[in-house]
Symmetry: C2
């Protein structure tokens, strides 16, 4: 069943990918014509793709003013981390009860790989495997809706997480937290698995918040329009509450 993908879907995926991978920075203007030319189509599928991304919160479309990559301020990022924590926590809870033996084996394998890469020391390589680790747990929840939802929030946060692991010692701590989670999962302890996972994600939020309040602005580097980006990029340490 060769499901034929429409141009607009392809574009939506490509653009989402650009945003998640940090190739399209927050605040960057997404010009319909430019994109249309770049992808060799007309503006119509581009517009439809942008509408889809807007509906998912990746871009913002201001009427008559075009689309820009959504720039989250610190507060919004922390808000998303709060959501992320409970969603991943639920994944872990359900996974503790529902993972098949094969999935458990998978989890162990990926976790072992994480440990290996943690020692190896390249945060970016670890980052990729870390993603796979979490994906295994999403799948282990056997809740497809949850899986998608969690992945979506993760993707929305990804531009703001890339540098997380570059913090000194963060990789080592991360893999240790994984280890605790894995243990709870394999022992089939849903409560503990959920709690540990929530804490694991929560720590990332905290660590980000520290990071931000130390440096004023990390790397706000807008592409085409010289100033637009910074507004959204992590700027004011307006810590909520």
């Amino acid at each position: 069943m060769a499901l034929p993908e429409t141009r607009s879907e392809q574009l939506a995926r490509a653009l989402e990918d650009d945003i998640c991978a940090g190739r399209a920075l927050p605040g960057m203007r997404l010009d319909e014509q430019v994109l249309a030319q770049r992808f060799g189509t007309s503006r119509t599928p581009v517009r439809e793709a942008l509408k889809m991304l807007a509906a998912q919160g990746f871009v913002e479309i201001r009427p008559r003013q075009g689309a820009v990559v959504v720039g989250l301020d610190v507060r919004q990022v922390l808000e998303l981390f709060e959501i992320m924590a409970v969603l991943e926590g639920l994944c872990a809870r359900l996974a503790a009860r529902r993972m098949t033996p094969a999935e458990r084996a998978d989890l162990l394998a990926v976790h072992a790989e994480c440990q290996r890469l943690a020692v190896a020391g390249d945060p970016d390589v670890y980052y990729a495997m870390n993603t796979r680790f979490h994906e295994v747990i999403y799948a282990g929840s056997h809740n497809r809706q949850l899986e998608e939802e969690t992945r979506r929030v993760r993707n929305r946060l990804s531009p703001y997480r890339r540098n997380q692991l570059h913090q000194l010692g963060r990789v080592a701590k991360s893999v240790q937290e994984h280890d605790d989670v894995v243990r709870a999962l394999l022992e089939g302890d849903p409560d503990r698995a959920e709690t540990l996972m929530r804490r694991h994600i929560g720590i990332q939020g905290d660590s980000l918040s520290d990071f931000v309040s130390n440096m004023s602005t990390p790397q706000a580097a807008p592409q085409t329009p010289p100033q637009a980006a910074l507004a959204g990029a992590l700027g004011r340490p307006t810590m909520a509450r």
Copy 2:
């Protein structure tokens, strides 16, 4: 700031509303031309609206085959309830710590109104106030992202929840559960508030699951193209907004 709303956004909201209110049933075909005529526009904004709804999971667009209102099977509904439980639980947890005095007063007022309507006995009227009750707690979380996310999941579930409260005694139990939640919230006990709210939502899932396993299937035929029953439901000119 009179933000000018585009046609496509209006359409998206109107259609989402139709779906949530049960005027557009799962499986129903959404014909671009018909909608365009009904709303007095061309197909373009209709298409963009459908793309947005598709991105949010309200409709499914099969290439070259048009858009249909997504029909969730029992399993998917239960999956969404699992998500809903933790999201609402988080709302309650955060609200317990963050609600302002004014918001607490609001909560009490709405809760009192719920109690009154519960005795009055009309489930549909109670349903509306019940929604407001939960909305107050969403807002009390002081987490905008969470608020939107929770509302989105709630909306996706709404076609499947409308009849929930018609179950015998469900309204009374619901309001009792609310009462417990309110107490925890006002006492500022985040853990208890979260736990109670999770249970409150979880019960709805269970109750639905009972309901479904008793009766064969609620209403529409989901996956297999159920033909154009649409003319009837969407035929009302009351759709415009």
